[in-house]
Symmetry: C2
Subunit: 196 residues, 2 copies
DNA sequence: CCTACCGATCGGTAGG
DNA sequence: CCTACCGATCGGTAGG
């Protein structure tokens, strides 16, 4: 179906070059049709973007949820670490992740409201996943008795920092930075008397 | 001097709207001249951008250095915290900070090399500032005996995370997140036996 | 799904 | 520093 292909190719182009640097001619060429034919499927460039955005939001949340379920019967450390790792590798390697990073960090101005909404939706989805893990960790005295808000906030800052850094460093440096950051984070949240 | 005004107005426009969304007509209007008159001062739009980039790099590094000197006779905690706070408030409030964030995160493709260079230069500058503080902290047994690389990496991830988040949250939420992240970071790096 | 075309706007130039 | 203008390209439309 051509409509599907338009959305897929647009996602790739928006992810790699941004909305403003992607022209309808670029999209048409990637799809293998002429520019005016795009208007048989979408009424404007804006409409294509908003469809892509909606698709990505849905897929991001499905992905996060599926990853959370995977580690349900492991230790607190393993569960948090798994969420952390899978989120990062997703953001680093997938086209959806690149698109999401690009539009959330510096959104095309005309869409900034919708994009903010999507960002907060994905974040709430993430909170629903990690909050029970953190609460269980405090209850079992694996984590320090800090407020859940403090712990989730610090977790977000951790992944947001790496989410950004993934753009600047080669794989080796990024991997090193990612391990170091996790190590300090874990030392900061775990109950200090705890043996590992 | 008109040249100075062109650079200042361009910085503001690039910071707020990005390179691709700023036209020479926008710049000329902000300066109060007509578009072709810009060519008496710069030979192209690219040249204006590169001059702005160079200016910002210089000012960023001067700013960081001046902040580091300020807290030389304080405790390790105070020194690290001061660097952390002043860097963040600078990034959040200044036009230079916004420009720096925009171009480093998703650089205009034709300048990605020069921008990466500038980013790494500023980062090296930051490393020169925090490394001696961290080394002294380990030596004095205020910080855990981890490798300096691990500690600086985690510090960067912390500030990069907040650097990104500053875009999404209102002042109050950001302030809360920033305090929570610092708290966990400090718990992660400080020598656990230490009384505060 | 195409060819042909639109008005607007882009960075940049000629010439004074 | 300006007016007048350039070729190229943008998103989008007419008409089949």
């Amino acid at each position: 179906m051509t409509q599907r292909k338009i959305l897929d190719e647009s996602l790739t182009l928006f992810a790699n070059h941004g909305y403003e640097n992607t022209t309808l001619a670029n999209i048409a060429e990637a799809v293998g049709i002429k520019k005016p034919s795009l208007y048989n499927h979408f009424k404007s460039k804006d409409a294509i973007f908003l469809h892509v955005l909606e698709d990505v939001a849905k897929r991001e949340m499905d992905y996060l949820s599926s990853q959370a379920d995977l580690s349900a019967d492991h230790t607190i450390y393993e569960r948090l670490h798994h969420i952390y790792r899978s989120y990062l590798s997703h953001m680093a390697d997938s086209t959806e992740g690149m698109f999401f990073k690009r539009v959330t960090f510096f959104p095309p101005e005309e869409f900034s409201e919708q994009i903010k909404e999507v960002f907060l939706m994905v974040e709430n989805n993430m909170t629903d996943i990690i909050r029970p893990v953190i609460e269980k960790g405090i209850e079992e005295k694996v984590l320090r008795p800090l407020s859940t808000d403090t712990l989730t906030s610090a977790f977000y800052t951790l992944i947001d920092g790496l989410f950004l850094e993934e753009n600047f460093y080669d794989k080796a440096v990024f991997e090193q930075r990612q391990q170091a950051s996790w190590e300090i984070f874990w030392l900061g949240i775990k109950e200090p008397e705890l043996e590992e």
